[in-house]
């Protein structure tokens, strides 16, 4: 399966990329997506995740074609 990954704000700066595309054979969780896209980098504390533009938990499963995003706490308004 193929997953589109997006990064935002300070997290994007910290890991040096704004997007990625990962492929996997088995079923993947949101956390697996982070690990595959960021080998060796620990997921920073307080990171929020979304699947297809809705908030998700790290142990939620993703499906082929999903868009997964990781970002720091939000600071709008």
């Amino acid at each position: 399966m193929s997953i589109k990954v997006q990064y935002f704000a300070s997290l994007k700066d910290a890991i040096g990329k704004s997007e990625d595309e990962i492929t996997g054979e088995k079923s993947l969780s949101v956390k697996d997506v982070w690990d595959l896209s960021n080998q060796g980098h620990k997921l920073p504390e307080n990171t929020l995740a979304a699947v297809n533009m809705d908030y998700a938990e790290l142990n939620d499963n993703v499906s082929d074609g999903d868009e997964v995003a990781f970002f720091p706490p939000v600071t709008g308004g």
Binding site: A9, S10, A50, A69, P73, V74, G77
Partner: protein, 152 residues
């Protein structure tokens, strides 16, 4: 419901007026309007701030804002809502966010408006990066909880 992400400066009072005159959902029906306007300050955390850049997650931001209005409609009797939020480069004194809620009665208008701004502050994917006068940039790390009592 109208949700707009704006790359350019806008006049919140003009936006309210335009919506109020044209939205059939509220014309001649509303008795109460509650408005929140957030404006950029030239100071934050004890430092002078020269400008700010606002980043957002296109698609998710709009989806979440629509959800907040939907959640508010489930809890209060409101007729309609208008949300505008700036992105890109912003200067002190410019409006960052406008939330306007129309209802028959003030209680619903006030409570729904408060609900939407607090939801936006804690859940809408926007991020501020401040440009300090000392030619130094920093990401704002988090928003404070608006319901916390600072005077306790």
């Amino acid at each position: 419901m109208q949700i707009k992400i704006c790359a350019n400066e806008f006049d919140p009072f003009q936006e309210i007026q335009i919506f109020q005159k044209s939205a059939l959902s509220i014309v001649k029906k509303f008795g109460a309007t509650s408005v929140f306007i957030g404006t950029m300050r030239d100071m934050n955390d004890g430092d002078a701030v020269e400008a700010m850049t606002l980043e957002y997650y296109q698609g998710m931001t709009e989806k979440q804002l629509e959800k907040f209005v939907f959640e508010a409609k489930q809890q209060w009797q409101i007729l309609d809502a208008l949300i505008l939020h700036r992105v890109g480069n912003i200067l002190p004194d410019q409006t960052i966010v406008l939330i306007a809620v129309w209802a028959s009665h003030r209680g619903d208008a006030f409570d729904a408006c408060r609900y939407i701004i607090e939801a936006l502050k804690s859940r809408a994917p926007f991020w501020k990066k401040e440009k300090l006068t000392a030619n130094d940039e920093r990401w704002v790390s988090n928003n404070t909880d608006g319901y916390l009592n600072k005077n306790k």
